[in-house]
Amino acid sequence: MRWLTLYLRSRRVPIALATAGGCTALMWSLWSAFSDDRTVAIPMVVLTLLLMTAALTATLSGPDDALDKTAAFSWLPRRIAHLLAAFLIVTVVLLATRATGARFGPAWLVLRDAAGLLGLTALCAATMGTARAWFLPLGWTLVAIITPLPDRLAGRVLTWQAQAPDNTAAAMTAVLLAFGGLIAYAVAGPARSAPAEAAQH
């Protein structure tokens, strides 16, 4: 228990959770205020998921990753648990809104995009460093939301975030990203920062 508390504090989890929750509440109230429809539009659902993922991104590395690596225990299961917990939190919070006046759904889309975006973020954290891990998820998702969904397989794969929940190609892409990110991050951990930013937190 002691370890968990220290870990959560070093990863600044409370502030990240508060940010993610606050952002969701903001999106929820914006939709409630501006729309008469109870079902939230898909672009807004995807943006909310992206926002929550971005808020949780900061927890992927601590104040000193190099020091973390010297720990006398295995990081692998802990990193997996960290990502799974993040996935659970994102999906549970969004799916809980289905009982309220502004419903974020459909459920399969929330599950798919949460898994895919978290995986992509973890993959980027493992390759580019946590500070830059949001670049690709943000750019990719914004483009995917805006472009009309093409029929060809490549188009469905490239705009997987905004595809219909029953789309197999999009689901496969998300699963690949999720497992790719999970494995890369669990094995390698966050990438070492550039020397100029070695002291960052």
Partner: protein, 440 residues
């Protein structure tokens, strides 16, 4: 100053920002080329539409750049230097503005290279639309810098980007039914799918410029400020800009969507007969249209009182305006394809022949599409295609049947029916079809 600016251009996020804007913009342009290939104003408007992605990215890029000192843990050190805050941020401001400007303009150049062969008509409005787009990006990146300095957290940059896109997506819904308000505050509003004769009125661009300039000034005040009092003063330009922009913008919905450029719609013609005319926006396609259009006229020459000229069909709707109809003129739809050249080049002569059997638009007894296709193909002497993009599938099927019926008739009788159909089309008396009782 120049030296620091040079360093800043190389060592800040400027280079990456320009590159990301350029690559994202070109990718977006490439997804649907038919929207912008018609001409320069269409390209400028499509670029503005894609600000839906580029604008949030510029916001995020600004916030990311602003968190640099915090990330490198030198904020306190730099604050101790005896130089005013405004001095220190100026090179960064210029570098980021240059970055978004060059990213946006190179995206435009990439699109321009695609259409440069056929796009000839270049209205001043195209430059105004692009200038507003650049200003929108500069305002975004500066605003991002300001917010990033105020809230130097890791989540600020992505959250600001997402909020930017959420804002752009929500503005139309939040301002409904006052669409003109959305036009003031959203640089992407009413920029989707511009028609061939699209225009952006100068007043709309001026109002948007006022608002975006106010946003940029606010960002500058926020960046130069150090206390909460000056930060509150930053609200002043925003309020002033919004008020001015709302006053300048005409309070009229669909202001840009309904705008038509009459110059783009004027006809430009071939010098020699038989005359073929296209609108000025399509003037680069004239040589491509001329040959097949003349082939179509040659086929029609078999008819008595045959049409002798082909004009582009410059019909517009809302408000409806039709080109003048004359018996000696065939109207032809001209469209630019994905490759910036004439779309459906092989169908043009068939469309010209079929166009001779079209009735005026206000005609209540116009010719049945199946009759038109059958008569045209009888003149050409080939079987109608079973499926065509220009006609309904059932019309195409019936046309094949009618065409077979025509062929079974003796040539002179069939010709008489076709001639009668043409007369009926011109006189707007087509309650009779090719094979109805009153035709001989």
């Amino acid at each position: 100053m120049t030296r620091i600016l040079n360093i800043e251009l190389r060592r800040s996020a400027a280079l990456g920002t320009a590159l990301i804007l350029f690559v994202t913009g070109v990718l977006l342009l490439a997804t649907d080329r038919a929207i912008f290939t018609t001409g320069w104003i269409q390209l400028a408007m499509t670029q503005r539409l894609y600000l839906a992605v580029l604008w949030p990215l510029a916001l995020a890029a600004g916030a990311w750049q602003a968190s640099r000192e915090h990330r490198s843990k030198v904020a306190e050190l730099f604050a101790s230097t005896p130089r005013p805050q405004a001095h220190r941020v100026l090179p960064t401001l210029i570098a980021m503005a240059v970055a978004v400007l060059s990213g946006y303009l190179t995206m435009g150049i990439a699109g321009g290279l695609w259409i440069i062969g056929t796009a000839e008509y270049l209205p001043v409005a195209a430059f105004a639309v692009t200038a507003v787009g650049v200003l929108a990006l500069i305002a975004a990146v500066w605003f991002g810098l300001a917010i990033g300095r105020l809230l130097p957290w890791r989540v600020t940059a992505p959250a600001l980007g997402i909020a930017g896109m959420g804002l752009l997506l929500l503005i139309p819904g939040a301002t409904r039914p006052h669409g003109w308000l959305a036009l003031v505050f959203s640089p992407i509003y009413e920029m989707n799918m511009p028609g061939a004769y699209a225009a952006v009125p100068g007043r709309a661009s001026i109002a948007q410029t006022l608002w975006l300039a106010a946003l940029a000034v606010t960002a500058l005040v926020l960046l130069a400020s150090s206390g909460w009092r000056t930060r509150m003063a930053a609200l002043l330009p925003v309020a002033l800009g919004a008020a001015l922009a709302i006053t300048v913008m005409p309070h009229q919905n669909r202001f840009v969507n309904d705008a038509i450029d009459p110059v783009a719609r004027e006809l430009t013609c071939t010098e020699d007969a038989p005359r073929v005319c296209v609108s000025r926006i399509h003037s680069g396609l004239l040589t491509e249209v001329t040959a097949p259009a003349r082939e179509g006229l040659a086929v029609l020459a078999k008819l008595p009182n045959a049409p002798t000229t082909v004009h582009e069909d410059t019909t517009i709707y809302f408000p409806d305006s039709y080109p003048p109809r004359r018996a000696d003129t065939v109207l032809l739809d001209v469209e630019t394809g994905d490759d910036a050249h004439l779309a459906d080049r092989t169908d043009v002569w068939m469309k010209v022949v079929a166009g001779a059997f079209a009735s005026p638009p206000d005609c209540e007894m116009s010719v049945d599409p199946a009759d038109r296709i059958a008569a045209a193909h009888w003149l050409i002497g080939s079987e109608p295609a079973k499926a065509s993009e220009d006609f309904e599938p059932e019309d195409s099927e019936r046309a094949v049947q009618l065409w077979n019926d025509l062929r079974r008739l003796p040539a002179d009788k069939a010709k008489a029916r076709v001639v009668a159909l043409r007369q009926a089309a011109v006189n707007c008396t087509a309650d009779i079809g090719l094979f109805s009782k009153s035709t001989p």
